[in-house]
Amino acid sequence: MRLYSKWSCCLFFFIFLMSSITHAAENTESPIVIGATVSLEGRYQEPSVMIQKAFKFWVDRVNKGHGLLGRKVKLILYNDKSDRELTKILYKKLIAEDKVDLVFSPYGTPLTLAASEVSEEHNMLMLGVAAGSEKPWQRGARYLFQLYAPAQRQFIGLLDLMARKNCKTLSVIYDDTSDYNVDTVNGIKEWAKIFNIDIVYQKAYQDGKKDLPALLKEVKVKDAKGLILSAYSRDCYELLHLLGEMRYRPAVLAMPIAPVHPDFQNNAGNMANHVFGPSQWEPDGRIPFPGTRRFVNGFTQFTGHMPSYHAASAFSACQLYEQAITRTESINNQKLRDYITALDTVTVLGRFKVDSTGKQVGHNSFIIQWQNGKKEIVWPKKMQTASPLF
């Protein structure tokens, strides 16, 4: 009897010891490491910084909570300097050396293309947080998914508005070094035809600083009702500067990327007024997507800046990762890929639904216009915060 009692005590002690060790091991489990590059220099700097802030905001929020699957999240971000080759190298480093569990995409279609080449090689899931072009999804990528509404569709709303206002002529100039801009212009051409808008002038360029003045002179000669510049922020500001100098302003002036940034008015001054732009999302409480208000408030509090749609897109990607990991209870990229492929949900950015190629088919962009220092949604009508001004 005494012997039996002694063995029982030993057994209980052993169980207690094991459970304590297990618990300690859980608490000290290595964090989930997510890697990405951001463009802290170069042409993509402005939107990319927004994406960086969104990543950090999300990680902070997750780690302040229960983490993911009980594990903290660690974020490794490298500066890709808006350079495709460097991006490639850095993603290789992230996967091979840093042994990241998951990767986010860099900013922009060119860098996403470069980064996804590496991630696809390693069967790593990548959510394209800022890739509007369809090109990355035309290569048969299996692990790459798009969040943005495709570039070809971003100006549908503006063309619709122009058609309604009888603005029947349009000039288009674009940076053809970016697939995004090429896709955008292709979409414009396609939809202009549908809306019976005549593109009277269309020119591509490579170097905005150098080419834009001459192009603008030609645009002025054509004097179309509308002018669309499809380019990244730096060229957008350059265009506005030149227009200011030329004292020329078509009835409709539109450009992507730059106008959606909260600082556009500050950067562009009076020239910002009445500028149209396509937006994937706006930090407006009236946007009917769940969590929008909480995200805007949280982000503003965390960073001291209002988020742009780039930040919302990055945060949306984080939300999708979070949902996939939680639901699958795994960080296995294959499992996560399968889950996201079949996903049809709504994030702060809006609807997320991809087709079999990973291309976004659920989300649509809308058109914003700066009106007297305020960014207003002017299209589609159901989300309109102000009527468009021409």
Binding site: D160, A163, K165, N166, I194, F195, N364, K381
Partner: protein
């Protein structure tokens, strides 16, 4: 003259209503002219807004379809587009049903009528259209009629969504608005007028009528109070009127009471005047007869006509008349209201009658004398009776004094009257006896009781009682008295009992001496040896 024929109320009403009618018509005209323009404008705006709304709703239907296609990425699918277009057309048709008189039409490429809420329209569009200018109002002729429209352009399908209304329909609410405005003004005017008339009737005419009727009633002697008291100045007037009626009623009641009293008094006076036992003469202040009643005529032996205008001095004893002069003057001066006196009057035949006069006067409000009223009581018989009585009294008094026996009257055995003889018999003076019990005359109580008992028994039996008794004089001597008493009223001794007292002391003594002499004689005769006899003169 014509104004007099119009009733008072109607004059007030007319004077009240005429300005109201004039002002009302002026205000109504102003109101109509002031209101009709904004109403028309409002309705036009409303109609335009509805037109715009209908076209916008049509456009939104298209936009929703477009958004749906965009979301599905099926915007290039002709099959899907056709489906969505058909669906949109159905919705647009249903929108037109929500707006009365408003039609919706979908124009494709500005040339073909794709759909319309009006059936049987031609396919080809012949109307004008400013293509591309959406959200614009447009007036044009369609199907031979003027229409007002709103156009929204939906570029994706190259559709113009036209909401339109035929001007006839468009203007009908405006015409209705005019009609409503005029009718409203008329209604308000009639309402005001009607209300005024009703209010006038309720608050002015009716109470005024009540007051007038009541006042007229008063003039006709009907004192009716107003029952429905209005809660306004009329009410106060009515309340005052009712108070006046109350006081009038009270005064009337008092007057009736006074009249009744007067009537009673007058009847009494009349009966007294006509049928009374007293002669009544009414004279002027200077004593000329105005009226005389039948009794007076009878007393004086004149007819009323004969007495009329006759001076009082003609029928009155001048000496008695002079005696009344002072009192008469005092009465005229107001110092006394009336006075009485006896006066000898001459009858028609010349004989004198004794009368007792009560002379009073009827005064005016200033206390001056209007006429004199003389009540005349014929006291001739009484005078004669008094004289006879006086003589009888004097006779009795002399008898009372001259009687040789004492005479007195006792009431309940208390001495009331005594004559001198009784004073002499008893030795008491008249004053010493009157008011005293007759017991003072008796030597003891037994005698006093005995006399009372015996004498009153006899009185009861025979109406008179005689008893011999003994009195004690004031000086203490006892005397024999033959006392006879007779009551003044046999049935009521309390009225007094007359008695006579005869001093029989001497007779008693003589009888005693005689009895003694007889006894001596008998004794002598019985004892003497001789025969002695007595014979009378005849025998």
């Amino acid at each position: 003259m014509a104004q007099k024929k119009i009733p008072f109320y109607n004059r007030i009403l007319f004077r009240l209503l005429l300005p109201v009618v004039i002002v009302g018509i002026a205000c109504s005209t102003m109101l109509v002219s002031y209101m009709s323009s904004p109403i028309k404008e409002f309705l036009a705006r409303q109609f335009d807004a509805n037109l715009r709304l209908a076209s916008i709703m049509g456009l939104e239907t298209c936009e929703n379809s477009f958004n749906y296609l965009l979301e599905l990425r099926l915007e290039k699918s002709s099959e899907m587009n056709e489906t969505m277009q058909n669906e949109a057309i159905e919705k647009i048709r249903s929108i037109s049903k929500q707006f009365p008189h408003i039609n919706l039409m979908v124009l494709e490429s500005g040339k073909t009528i794709k759909a319309s809420s009006i059936n049987g329209l031609p396919k080809k569009w012949k109307g004008p259209l400013v293509i591309g200018k959406d959200d614009t109002g447009l007036g044009f002729t369609f199907l031979g009629k003027r229409v007002r429209s709103h156009v929204q352009f939906f570029p994706f399908w190259n559709w113009h969504i036209i909401s339109f209304v035929f001007e006839k329909d468009y203007e009908s609410p405006i015409r209705m608005a005019y009609t409503v405005t005029y009718l409203s003004a008329l209604f308000v005017f009639i309402s005001v007028l009607g209300t005024l008339i009703v209010m006038f009737y309720l608050f002015i005419k009716r109470p005024l009528n009540q007051l007038v009727d009541a006042t007229e009633g008063v003039s006709e002697g009907r004192l009716h109070k107003i029952t429905r008291i209005a809660a306004n100045e009329f009410g106060r007037l009515m309340t005052s009127y009712n108070s006046m009626i109350d006081s009038l009623d009270n005064e009337r009641a008092e007057g009736r009471s006074l009249i009744h009293q007067l009537e009673e008094s007058e009847a009494l006076f009349r009966s007294q005047f006509e049928f009374g036992n007293i002669g009544i003469a009414i004279t002027t202040v200077d004593e000329k007869l105005i009226r005389a009643n039948e009794r007076l005529c009878h007393i004086l032996g004149y007819s009323e006509e004969e007495l009329g205008g006759k001076a009082w001095s003609e029928i009155a004893n001048p000496k008695d008349l002079r005696a009344s002069t002072i009192s008469y003057r005092r009465m005229l001066a107001g110092e006394i209201e009336s006075y009485e006196m006896d006066m000898r009057l001459f009858r028609k035949k010349g004989n004198v009658i004794f009368t007792h006069l009560n002379i009073s006067c009827y005064r005016n409000q200033d206390r001056s004398v209007q006429f004199i009223i003389i009540s005349i009581l014929d006291i001739t018989n009484r005078k004669k009776a008094e004289e006879a009585l006086q003589k009888s009294e004097e006779y009795l008094r002399s008898l009372f004094r001259a009687a040789p026996t004492g005479i007195g009257v006792v009431v309940d055995r208390v001495i009331d009257q005594v004559n001198e003889k009784l004073c002499m018999i008893t030795g008491y003076s008249e004053d010493e006896m009157i008011g005293k019990k007759s017991r003072i005359l008796y030597p003891n109580d037994e005698e006093f009781e005995y006399v009372g008992r015996e004498k009153y028994d006899q009185i009861r039996k025979y109406g008179t009682g005689t008893v011999e008794t003994r009195w004690e004089r004031k000086d203490g001597h006892i005397i024999d008295v033959l006392l006879s008493s007779t009551p003044m009223d046999l049935n009521d001794f309390s009225k007094g009992v007359t008695f006579t007292a005869l001093d029989i002391s001497d007779r008693k003594r003589a009888e005693a001496a005689l009895r003694e002499a007889n006894h001596m004689l008998r004794l002598v005769l019985d004892t003497i040896p001789v025969r002695v006899f007595w014979k009378d003169r005849e025998s």
